[in-house]
Subunit: 323 residues, 4 copies
């Protein structure tokens, strides 16, 4: 009976594959950041994606691409805030696109730290104590009391210039008031990196804009078309562009959508926990953006690392950039 | 040797549990939508979450809560668009919060359908043919050519009234021009359901706003603070509120954040593919929002169904609402 | 400046797509299981995958394929146990492949139910009370006390026949002792459906085999090669084969691996929460199995529904099978 | 109107939290494996879980715990094979539990490498060429032709000793024939580390056992109860135990289930991509095992890193073990 089956179980193959051998780190030589991460290229699965990401980010720089960093707000909730600030400080990033929680939390952290917490908490009890939970990070409510005061002073000057302002102005002028080398907004202000945030209302800065507006004499506003024009046109003027997306959502899409105007980003690296099968923008791999012309179709110019960002971003930054 | 181990392997238990028995549909009786979905309550895992969601949505209605529906753009890319439109048409939803792709795609679909496609496509080839891919859905580029023309006509009138407008006005006035009973924007316009969309630029409607603005005589703009005020204040005026979040991102957060002002939503149902462990807002279960006071802590007033929305939303709507 | 960009933003497309329009259920007509699920075919994303799965399972039957059902143990923990039993009872399934927890829990449920519980529990407290948690399902420890007694009686007879037995014999003879129409093992025994379970030790039935063996006079054993031979050879004798995999792991792989001997399964439907990017067998979509020859490459003969099984299996079974 | 809302938006909080500040790596000092990974403890989300995992694995060793390493087969497909071999070579692991693909592939790799490939492949074309795909890893079919020959020689001697053998004997005797320092089986054989693999049939070694058995004179077999006894009893004799689970499935469950007999594992670290909400064993976090008594409930003695293993295991091993 078995004879029939052999051709199925053991089909011929005289194919010679020219690709690298799969081979991992074997802990016989030096154990350094370099040697360990070098081995990722041939370790397979997501390790290989991380090695590709490092390579692509290096090539962005060799090519003097305009680098867009996009991040979700929880990146700033976490310790990756300091890494994003360092990238801007060292001139490694040209454009930042994010959501409103990032602005909120970066400002708070210039004055008061977030605290390590626990995933499994009694949330009703936390509410009693005025402790807000973000995953395994805790933010006591006094941070927001402080923030409102700080922002109210800032709003006074900010809206005195003009009653209707843009999110990029908001970020730049707010950043200029801050005094913390680890602040993303401060580094962005100091290094002329624009910070785009179209949905500026959707976090505590929005809440305090609301309260401020209630008692403001003039009809203050936040206008978002002007920023969109700037983002599109700066992209069209760039020689080459490269995207590094930490998390997904509006910021990632904002970067690829505006790169469409220039015929697509030249390089793209996504770090994402999104699920492709839900048809979401967040879960869509870079390949999908190629069909739209949002990313160019060249040789290994994009990749996606399927990972929670805190695990891989410090490694990616340490290997792909000079400090 | 075994004696030692028995107390570990077989600990005492004289606990009587009062909860329901786990018991699934056994296909011996009538097989209808009702009988099958009734069995979900005691089927366990996510089936039970879906049964809870149905129950909570029924209780929202009994309680005459103001119902907020939030959805990501891909919900509108998919056939769930027709379901959202039906919910608004029948008066089941009071507030809609979404992202800009929803507006874009709802308008296109009033004129030209999206087409079924395939997840595994050669994206470079699709780009050649001018076919854009959204998961397993294809959108030929001619849809966007049509859209630009349609919007240009609309923009003319819309910005003639005033040069700086809000996203809710944009949605309402655009919806009023449409002629398709399955259109979300049309139903929203007809039924006075406001459509909030703070990041209005981040999709093709934004692209065409950009092109239009380039050649407009006046300095047109989109202002987002006024909508935020309306959303907050309408929430504070509501007697009870209930949230139904289809997908996550900015729309879901916008609903819970503005419900904070009233002391939290009274009911909340999330349908989500988010991952809790990434610390994202998208992945955060309703419990996390309780610590922030964005959702109230009452008896079984919230749940999350961990599922891709197209699989469960038709069932949830069919069971929880009257048509 | 904008002129340059138009060809990128609005590429030509005179492509006519022949596929169906994306169109969802609009709640204007009859709302039944049939009408709702019919709409899934054109709803997109995973709904379309479920519609495809229903179609493929119908074609398996039209083609009189030998149907392999594979399931993980938690399927039996949940209310899907009753559905699997019903499928066997009605003659819809020819081979069952599973893991050892399925056997354990199916037997317990013939005597004592599992109880609905909660995901968020204080586990140390549950341990104190002798309550074991499986997701949102609770199993009080007395169930295992009962099970040991029941199995000890059974083992006596079972190993008296021969000291070294196979997992399929174990399942068949155990099933024959049971008295519960909702029991998978009983239905399998009554309907001559073999139950394969290579890792038979890896659950409480294994624990009680261990205890029994400690005090048995003879050297009892469980031998697994003979079952593997049967599974392979029955597959080779089948005219056509179809796989329905509820969950992943060893059972799913066992089915596709043994189908390799016949040149691949003719049809395959996976219901899975696995992640493709981890390179696991569990996350590997059916496409990967095609490269191995484990699934045939024909026209739409396989699909994967990315979903937690309790949500979709009752629907799949209700639509694809006759009761 | 706003006054009402302030107590909701800004609740009191005079809570002083004693936990660490959230603070990430800021790239101002030395950039080494140590400094980068040290920062993970206060980076939040999964980075903190990885830092906890490193800490727990260090404590396992300080406590001289018997260390169980469990892994799925794809770990061995990837370059993590070399790392597992190194751990055994250096005496860091006492027990290995895995599935059958691990044995299959470890042996092949002693003779012929696996090759780097691509996730997006034309699977039917690969089948034509006799190339099997495992995620982004390719295995040409000639590897299996070689394996069958190798195993046939081995089987001759192996079953000559006794016709019915155990998986641990299989692994040990097979390992002893191998000549490759990077081989897991060779290192296990040399270092007296037992390799448990209850579902030994479920991979190519099973296929070749089947073919061999067809033409064997005697009735050969694989018996699995004896191994289960050994695993349980060795666990009960251990002073302390620690589990490191790379991936989930049968191997992870086998480790925690047999640790139940001794009252639970003292330490446990999971690296997993499983989804809790599917109620699976694979997705169940260590907390669930506490309710069963499979893991002890002590102070920070367990954690789960939600990550694809290739990304984090090299880092975990580099930091937690001495080489
Ligand atoms: N700390 C906060 O997260 C916070 C605070 C205040 C307000 N908000 C608001 O909530 C809304 C939604 O937040 P968002 O749009 O910033 O993103 P999000 O949290 O909704 O995440 C979007 C997607 O990004 C990916 N992602 C998120 N975290 C990741 C990680 N750690 N690693 C890899 N991928 C990851 C996932 O695919 C996720 O679904 C925004 O308007 C934001 O301003 C958030
Ligand atoms: N069709 C489109 O998706 C589309 C089109 C044009 C523009 N855009 C823009 O892209 C940006 C990002 O899109 P977004 O914010 O609407 O959401 P998104 O696609 O980024 O999804 C956000 C999160 O919602 C959840 N989710 C998404 N789809 C789901 C589903 N089917 N079932 C269950 N949960 C699901 C996931 O957690 C996901 O990470 C927005 O600005 C949007 O306007 C999207």
């Amino acid at each position: 009976m078995t004879d029939d089956s052999r051709e199925h179980v053991l089909p011929d193959s005289d194919e010679e594959l020219e690709t690298a051998d799969v081979e991992g780190f074997d802990f016989t030589g030096d154990i350094t950041l370099d040697t360990v991460l070098d081995s990722y290229a041939t370790t397979g699965f997501q390790a290989t994606a991380l090695a590709d990401a490092i390579d692509i980010v290096e090539r962005m720089q060799d090519d003097e691409a305009t680098i867009y960093l996009t991040c979700t707000s929880n990146i700033v909730s976490s310790g990756l805030r300091e890494i994003v600030a360092a990238l801007i400080r060292e001139g490694h990033v040209d454009v930042l696109i994010t959501t409103s929680g990032s602005l909120t939390e970066d400002v708070i952290k210039t004055a008061k730290p977030f605290k390590m917490g626990s995933w499994d908490a009694d949330e009703a009890e936390l509410r009693e104590k005025g402790i807000n939970r973000l995953g395994n990070i805790y933010v006591p409510s006094d941070r927001y009391v402080w923030l409102e005061e700080y922002l109210n002073d800032f709003f006074e000057d900010f809206f005195a210039e003009e009653p209707v302002r843009t999110p990029t102005d908001f970020a730049a002028e707010l950043g200029a008031t801050l005094d913390d080398e680890n602040s993303i907004l401060k580094q962005a202000a100091d290094n002329d990196v624009p910070v785009f945030c179209p949905a500026l209302t959707d976090a505590e800065v929005g809440n305090f804009l609301y309260y401020y507006r209630q008692q403001a004499e003039e009809d203050i506003g936040i206008e978002i078309l002007e920023d969109y024009e700037t983002l599109i046109e700066d992209g069209m003027l760039a020689n080459k562009t490269g995207l590094i997306a930490l998390g997904d959502g509006v910021p990632k899409h904002h970067a690829i959508m505006t790169n469409l105007f220039r015929g697509g980003a030249d390089y793209a690296v996504y770090v994402s926990t999104g699920m492709e099968g839900d048809g979401s923008l967040s879960g869509a791999p870079p390949e999908e953006a190629v069909s739209w012309g949002k990313i160019k179709n060249a040789d290994k110019n994009y990749t996606q690392v399927e990972a929670e960002a805190t695990l891989v971003v410090p490694l990616l930054v340490a290997q792909a950039f000079e400090f």
